[in-house]
Symmetry: C2
Subunit: 210 residues, 2 copies
DNA sequence: AATATATGTGAGTCTCTCTTACTTTGTTTC
DNA sequence: GAAACAAAGTAAGAGAGACTCACATATATT
């Protein structure tokens, strides 16, 4: 849904949102590398310097796109864990949702991971990212011994790693051509998540050798 | 080891390799985003247009860095699977080696994954990357039912996903501060790999529902 | 030695990021 | 309701980088 300005006058009315919109479109066409503030401004119908009233620099505009990405991802996670009954099924569904998100909202995924943003510099983004993790944290806790939060974090790290990796491989074309590749990657990551959960006992005894 | 030119004359003697060297140093300092052909040329002591005699454009120079990265990674994989006795231990060691590579050779890792290179456009890179996979493929086969290559590929995908994900998380600072973070991430990814292997039976029955 | 080829240079074009000074519009305050 | 202020936009330009092209110089070939 495109962002409509209130008026067609000197003041745009909703420039930041419109810029994020245009930027995501542009990233979709040219990748993060090919993205430019100038072109985003042109497409939004404002001058090249206008974006700098709202975003300190190029990266900050990309960070705003990344925040949008977090919101979208959070919604997908919430939907994924809503239906299944067992925690394992919920996490498998979440993994698959993550991979599907990468495929279906590639510009968002690229803004989030392909831009090399220093997240420490964008507190709003760090917050949004933390909120995403929060969404699935309680599910992971149910699979941790004694519902221990630290163990849950370890499990979640591993799961995140799996999902992130599968998404990267999918976008890299290592699962074949879309759209079949997407379904395949989702199945695979869900299966891998289940495998990880099945064998998870090893995870929580890591540092103690024997 | 710095690349030494044969002479200090008009012709450099080994400009491509020297440029790759300088580029990796530059990527280390400024990240892939901050990398510029101009600065790499300056550091190598040649004119700004000299690199274009050897590399068609910026991305092709980065791709050459990525090829170097593949060679380094391949060596580390070979060393990692040499010592352990069981296939599971070998793969766990390979995962850890991958994560350690990301931490210790970050510029290479960034060139390989942070530049958003379209690998289809760089056959030499695709070849080098395939050779890396080849190095661990036989190990994965020993853990696949009936040594089936397709199943081995699935397992390897999942493992790659795990390692890639853990590396990303480590570089993102999600394991804490170096150098402890590196060891921690290596332990975790090794444990996760073992967990994945333990529960791997689920992996190979994916597409058949029931 | 003469020629061809590979490699490096300098100057120039184009685009991009970001800044500065200025303009226009909307809001507040008396 | 007008004056003052703040917010949001513009135009012009400095500085840097990607890439090109005509030219220079070294090396290889014959």
């Amino acid at each position: 849904m495109p962002v409509a300005p209130r008026k067609r006058s000197y003041h745009h009315g909703n420039l930041p949102a419109a810029l994020v919109d245009a930027s995501l479109g542009l990233i979709g066409e040219r990748g993060v590398q090919g993205f430019s503030v100038a072109e985003a401004a042109r497409r939004t119908g404002v001058s090249i310097s206008a974006p700098y009233r709202h975003f300190a620099d190029r990266d900050e505009l990309i960070a705003a796109c990344a925040v949008t990405a977090c919101e979208e991802l959070q919604g997908r996670f919430a939907a994924a864990i809503a239906a299944p009954e067992s925690p394992a099924d919920q996490l498998a569904a979440a993994s698959a949702a993550y991979v599907r998100f990468a495929a279906e909202r590639r510009p968002m995924f690229d803004a989030l991971f392909g831009a090399g943003l220093d997240k420490a510099r964008y507190p709003q983004l760090a917050e949004a990212a933390a909120a995403v993790v929060e969404t699935v944290f309680d599910v992971a806790r149910e699979l941790a011994p004694g519902r221990d939060p630290d163990s849950a974090a370890i499990l979640l790290e591993a799961m995140t790693g799996l999902a992130q990796g599968h998404a990267t491989l999918l976008l890299d074309g290592r699962f074949g051509e879309p759209p079949d590749a997407v379904d395949l990657a989702c199945e695979r990551v869900a299966a891998a998540t289940r495998a990880l959960i099945r064998g998870r006992s090893v995870l929580f005894s890591g540092s103690v050798p024997g």
